[in-house]
């Protein structure tokens, strides 16, 4: 059942039926009811492919995910982000189009998706410091918004980011206030912009306290439980082990905790952990009594807000770039305590 058929049955023109269905004013209320009734009766729905061709809008937002390198993107944080974004898309009648592409194909995929008109806008995930996607998308002239920032990119673009540097600086300072002097950093991959900024925050806090950073106390890699475990394990095995850790994610913090408990140490007494907490719904840190002391910022809320900002941009293209910098909140949990005496 298509529009032509439906309009023939109703003895009306396609124009009128289309307008009746889409709520245009220039159609008799009586007629509109007849049309609506017939549409329901014949179970008619407009073909979305034809609709998007005619309107020029696809009502869908693209997310392009590189997947070759150790699943960089399709992770637990990502799931919460798209849950947030998806909610907002649904409210506005958009759907979300995910394409997983091999890293080396990524630029092509953007171009394909954008230029072909498959999507009305794009969200860029986890930018690298000098991310080529950004200038690429600017050239393509399609609305897009970056979740995060790319420090070395000079072209203006819309973004939403957590103040990662300040967050980790605050967190590290908190550990310093507890008299910890040897603090291990277990960071994400430092080609990612956010990881660099977190490292900067860590270094800034140490420097401000007059402590010389040691490369032996700084690790970076996949934000997984095993990487957290392995990194903490290594550092704890060294001759001068750290008394506290800053972990870039609650997932790696779980690994750190395992390494600590494995050697009979008590978290929060013998060794402290502070982590970045994306407030993931399936791995919550606890509201009333947080397990980990953490810098918290909800990635789901970020997903929601990114979607809103992008949809605004699609609807009102002439408005300028949107940028938002969120501050993470320090949450005191049970994983931190004063540095044990004599350490």
């Amino acid at each position: 059942m298509n529009l032509r058929e439906l309009s023939e049955r109703l003895n009306l023109s396609q124009t009128t039926v289309s307008r009746a269905l889409n709520g245009y004013p220039e159609v008799n209320e009586e007629t509109r009811k007849r049309v609506a009734a017939a549409a329901a009766k014949f179970n008619y729905r407009p073909n979305i492919r034809a609709q998007t061709l005619a309107t020029g809008r696809s009502m869908s937002i693209g997310h392009i995910i590189p997947f070759s390198k150790q699943n960089e993107m399709v992770n637990i944080v990502f799931a919460d982000f798209i849950a947030g974004a998806g909610e907002v898309y649904a409210q506005h009648g958009y759907s979300m189009s995910l394409s997983l592409v091999r890293d080396e194909d990524e630029l092509n995929a953007y171009q394909g998706v954008a230029e072909k008109g498959a999507v009305d806008g794009i969200i860029v995930h986890s930018p690298a410091r000098d991310d080529p996607r950004i200038s690429f998308l600017s050239d393509l002239d399609i609305p897009f918004l970056v979740h995060g920032r790319a420090s070395e990119v000079t072209t203006p673009y819309s973004w939403l980011d957590v103040n990662n540097k300040r967050a980790i600086k605050t967190g590290t300072a908190h550990l310093l206030d507890l008299d910890h002097r040897r603090i291990g950093l277990i960071n994400g991959e430092e080609r990612m912009d956010f990881a660099q900024r977190r490292r900067d925050g860590y270094l800034a806090a140490l420097t401000a306290a007059g402590i010389t950073p040691e490369t032996a106390l700084m690790r970076s890699g996949e934000m997984s439980e095993p990487h957290g475990y392995a990194s903490a394990h290594d550092m704890l095995d060294s001759t001068e082990p750290p008394t506290a850790f800053v972990a870039s994610s609650i997932v790696s913090a779980l690994g750190v905790r395992r390494a600590i408990e494995e050697r009979g140490l008590v978290m929060g007494r013998d060794i402290s952990i502070l982590c970045f907490d994306d407030d993931i719904s399936y791995l919550p840190n606890g509201r009333t009594t947080p397990v980990f002391t953490a810098m918290r910022s909800s990635v789901r809320a970020a997903g929601r807000r990114c979607a809103e900002l992008l949809i605004d941009q699609i609807k009102i293209p002439q408005q300028g770039m949107a940028t938002e910098l969120w501050d993470a909140e320090l949450i005191i949990g049970g994983s931190t305590g004063p540095c044990p005496k004599g350490r």
Copy 2:
């Protein structure tokens, strides 16, 4: 730059240009090269909206996710599933269209998506025992595949599922072999088919061993860390606490472990845990030395296979329903041990 423009510049018909670009044989190799060169030069890409309208195929697969009830779907397991499916889609030139819908709108969303021609096929996630979506999609006459099964649905449909009953029966039997007699079950939500089947497996193993199941030892709910913690906490507080737990997910197992360790008990010695392990990339159980004894089946592999099966079905519609039942593998880890004497 569209096809008309491009063909004008080349002094060729749209037909020829289209065929040259799409690799049809009836075009001179010389001409094809000219066309390809011009397309590259003018940075031409076919408009995908027009393409899908003309071909009748949208080259995209729909996943519709209900989101109101405690984020049922957008979870860590789901992320791995779509990572797997997405890989396969990418290889075949498909993209993935996610729509998050409120539960009460879900049937409408299916109908919308399907009938409107937005997608060529649909994957159904986490079916309930009597899931209305299945007969609904059958009526819509669109290819679809269910990840999981719906026991009470009688219409035939394509599915891929893990043999959940056998998996948990095997796992529970393993604990029984270690002389555990009081075994707690921390299940997913039992309106979900897979959770029911897991419960059936648990009950079957107990019954086979001549043990009467106790409702006090059976919990179900969200498969989150806090739910695992709270359930285990409760049971351990009872007058006759269990000596072992069967957890429906590695995430809830993390919560169980926390409850155990919190009271100074040692996992694998004082209390055993066996869990279902979806082999999630960011929360791996460990390959060489698994933390948890588990029934393992990779959800990412399932995602890949579901995508393959669905694409087959789209390409060759006349073939019958595809069904696959996977067996989970028992992995011995450090979380289980013989029941302590006198318990």
